[in-house]
């Protein structure tokens, strides 16, 4: 079992929004960043994977199990962290364990209490008494306690300070260190993924913009900068997005088109750059 998550031609129609033909694969042992601006369809994709929304078409396999036909088997190996707590906030941590562990045969109580200790979560507290970062770690602790092979995180870092975000990335790197676990990390804070992600799937306005290696993704684009007079219509057509100011311009171009821009300042593009420039739909060079 080499591919932990397979999504093929996943589509969903809402009123006013369409998720169209999303396809990507996450092999075991790696971290994939699911990126795109807010509202582009990341959370919809995750909910479709979890069968919390009914898909219009397509196929999803989690560790080889179809997410609808074999929903129970698929979810046994799945851990999910959302951007906010999904336990009853009146529950004590011990109740969280009682409630969740009942559904997982391989729940390891020792692992749960060790993980709580490591995360500095006091077992005597109620869920509502934990900070947002602690609540997020609690969801993780549960997933670790039944050794979920695939971890899906939906905007786990929104609302967290940089220290907590860094901690989370460290926890995730450790999680995949043995090569037997995978992570799908959906976020609009792409700085988190800049170094740690192995793969990137970029969804823009419901369409799949890119899915593949992160290094390859970043390497396919460059930022070119120049003076206003250096911008010709031909060059403008080749640009994927542009920022004009009184003193010049900045634009995103494909690396394969770089020769035409050789006379301008060329810099590597960050994931943020790529997402921001390609999201400026309709802002064409004029």
């Amino acid at each position: 079992m080499n591919d932990y998550l397979e999504v093929r031609n996943l589509s969903k129609s809402f009123e006013g929004f369409q998720l169209h033909n999303i396809t990507f694969t996450l092999p075991k042992g790696y971290i994939m960043g699911l990126i795109g601006p807010n509202g582009s369809g990341k959370t919809t994709t995750i909910k479709l994977i979890l069968n919390m929304l009914k898909r219009t078409s397509g196929e999803v396999k989690i560790l080889g199990f179809d997410n609808i036909a074999s929903e129970q088997e698929a979810k046994r190996n799945l851990g999910v962290v959302f951007d906010s707590n999904y336990f009853s906030d009146e529950w004590k941590i011990s109740q969280v364990e009682k409630s969740v562990s009942a559904f997982y045969e391989n729940w390891n109580t020792q692992k749960f209490s060790e993980t709580l200790k490591r995360f500095h979560i006091q077992p005597s507290k109620k869920v509502k008494e934990l900070s947002k970062g602690m609540q997020m770690k609690l969801m993780l602790a549960c997933a670790f306690s039944y050794d979920a092979k695939l971890l899906i995180l939906d905007e786990p870092t929104s609302g967290l300070d940089p220290v907590s975000r860094d901690e989370l990335l460290h926890i995730l790197s450790e999680y995949i260190e043995d090569g037997e676990h995978s992570v799908l990390f959906s976020t609009h804070i792409t700085g988190d993924l800049e170094r740690a992600a192995d793969y990137i799937t970029y969804i823009s306005y419901g369409e799949l913009f890119f899915s593949g290696g992160k290094d390859e993704f970043i390497d396919s684009f460059r930022i070119v900068k120049g003076g206003c007079e250096e911008l010709s219509t031909d060059l403008g057509k080749k640009m994927l997005g542009i920022r004009n100011f009184s003193t010049g311009f900045e634009a995103l171009v494909k690396t394969e088109d770089l020769k035409q821009f050789a006379h301008l300042n060329v810099e590597p593009a960050t994931i943020d750059d790529i997402v921001v420039f390609t999201s400026k739909r309709g802002e064409q060079y004029e």
Binding site: Q72, R76, F103
Partner: protein, 216 residues
Amino acid sequence: MSNIWKSAKLDFSLVKPYVKTICFTMVLPVVFAAINRSLLTGISFAMCFIAMTTGYTFSITEKNSMERLYGILPIRKSDMVIGRYIFIIIMGLTALIFSLIAHPVILTILGESISIFDYISAAVTGIFLFALYTVFQLPGYYRFGSIKGRVFMYIPVAGFLITLLLITKSPVGESKLLFTVINSPILLMLLAVIFVIAMYIVSILVSIKILKNKEM
């Protein structure tokens, strides 16, 4: 079967912090029983009140967006629904048993005598009323959520009273068959039990269908 039971236990853990509140709602019906000097009245009110608390699992789930937890757990939607019904039925039975002990005690203290017939007919009526309320409530809650679903709770009450009114007023009341049925308590109770089971089966199937089609 095991997953159904786990789901029922999960629902119980949701409601645990509110158990005291629910227990208090069982006190008022005792008062009504005393005022009316009738076991039937007390039990009817008790079942009505306990049926009002069935929305707790839904409202608590909504409050913490816990449908996401339900979406993650490895459990079939049908098991979740059946588990919730089982939990609700157990809540109802617990309230019924409590009331069937507490009300006669109070009534006896007040000097009323209660026959076996009173006792059994109150129990069966209680079960029937509780079933009537909940078979409409639960699909309503599943479909519309705990707030809008509240409306469904009052409909069966109204419906029941209207039906009662119609039966006593209409010529149907003269039919031989109905006459036989009403005069044979055993037949009536048997019919009630069968009806309850059938109602629950239909209600559960409807709820499962609703949940399967629900967008979370």
